[in-house]
Amino acid sequence: GPLSERRLVDVRLGELPAWLATCNLSPQGLLGGVRKAWSSYYDKYINVKRGGPAGISMLLAGYCLLSYGWNYQHISKISFLVSV
């Protein structure tokens, strides 16, 4: 279909700048995008008939990775094998 109506996973790499130009980058637009992304994740992995620990575990693993990235500058300055 037309570029502005496709979801991000269907957009090809070369078309990415053009797709970014069509989407709504205001705060409400970004918030709507975040809400859509979250509800598609939730409906695919958590809101299923016989869900297991997988949906939440992926979320928690992503949270750990995000916290690692947030802390990276701080953590990278540790020097091991130096007595306190």
Partner: protein, 227 residues
């Protein structure tokens, strides 16, 4: 640069956004609002069962007027529980290790219970300052002691939560440092230390849940006296 053991409690910033903001908003993702269906997904079912359990437990000793506090006490309990448990994951930041946040939770809620009691039933609330059956000469001293114990409640609530979680995280960091440092030198001692680390982690999970429960239970007790 050498890291002191307290550096894990500094609130890290990325591009000016502190991690504490993310850590406090993340539990909202883990607790979805259940839709209006008869059979929800397993996460919502578990969540509803758990909320029923704690609401029944907290609200049964309270009278009808106290049931107005149901929402705030249950949501406080859920928030503290999720924040404490999430803090045990690697690299995460626990907002409840910051005294500022715990005092900000404890002080207004305690003050609300106190003011509710003093406003609606002042003589009963003040009557709690003197236990029944005290000998007459002891009354002035006991009133002063009870007033001090009343005024120290918010401090105790906040500091209890902070100290328990901070001590737990610090212990985990110390023992894991010892384990990694001993590994090239004495592997058997290192394995023993890692066993201690496993037991400590189980303890920390229990402490995280118990501390959240104790915080809210004490608040409901203070409410029972005053409402």
């Amino acid at each position: 640069m050498n890291l002191s053991f307290f550096d894990q409690f500094t609130s890290p910033c990325l591009l000016g956004i502190p991690l504490i903001l993310l850590s406090m908003l993340f539990p909202t993702l883990l607790l979805p609002t259940p839709d209006n269906r008869w059979v929800t997904n397993r996460l919502s079912t578990l969540q509803l069962w758990f909320l029923h359990l704690i609401t029944k437990q907290l609200m049964s000793p309270l009278n009808k007027k106290g049931h107005k506090w149901a929402l705030i006490l249950t949501s406080l309990m859920t928030m503290l529980l999720t924040i404490n448990l999430l803090g045990l994951l690697p690299y995460t930041f626990t907002p409840t290790t910051q005294l500022s946040m715990n005092m900000a939770l404890a002080f207004p809620l305690w003050l609300a219970t106190l003011i509710t009691g003093l406003r609606n039933q002042p003589s009963i609330s003040l009557g709690h300052l003197l236990p029944e059956g005290t000998p007459t000469p002891l009354i002035p001293a006991l009133i002063m002691i009870e007033t001090t114990s009343l005024l120290i409640r918010p401090l105790a609530l906040g500091v209890r939560l902070t100290a328990n979680l901070t001590a737990g995280h610090l212990l985990i960091q110390l023992i894991s440092t010892a384990t990694t440092a001993l590994l090239p030198i004495m592997p058997t001692v290192s394995i023993l230390t890692s066993l201690i680390l496993l037991l400590l982690t189980i303890l920390e999970v229990a402490v995280a849940m118990i501390q959240a429960y104790v915080f809210v239970l004490l608040l409901s007790l203070y409410l029972q006296e005053n409402i």
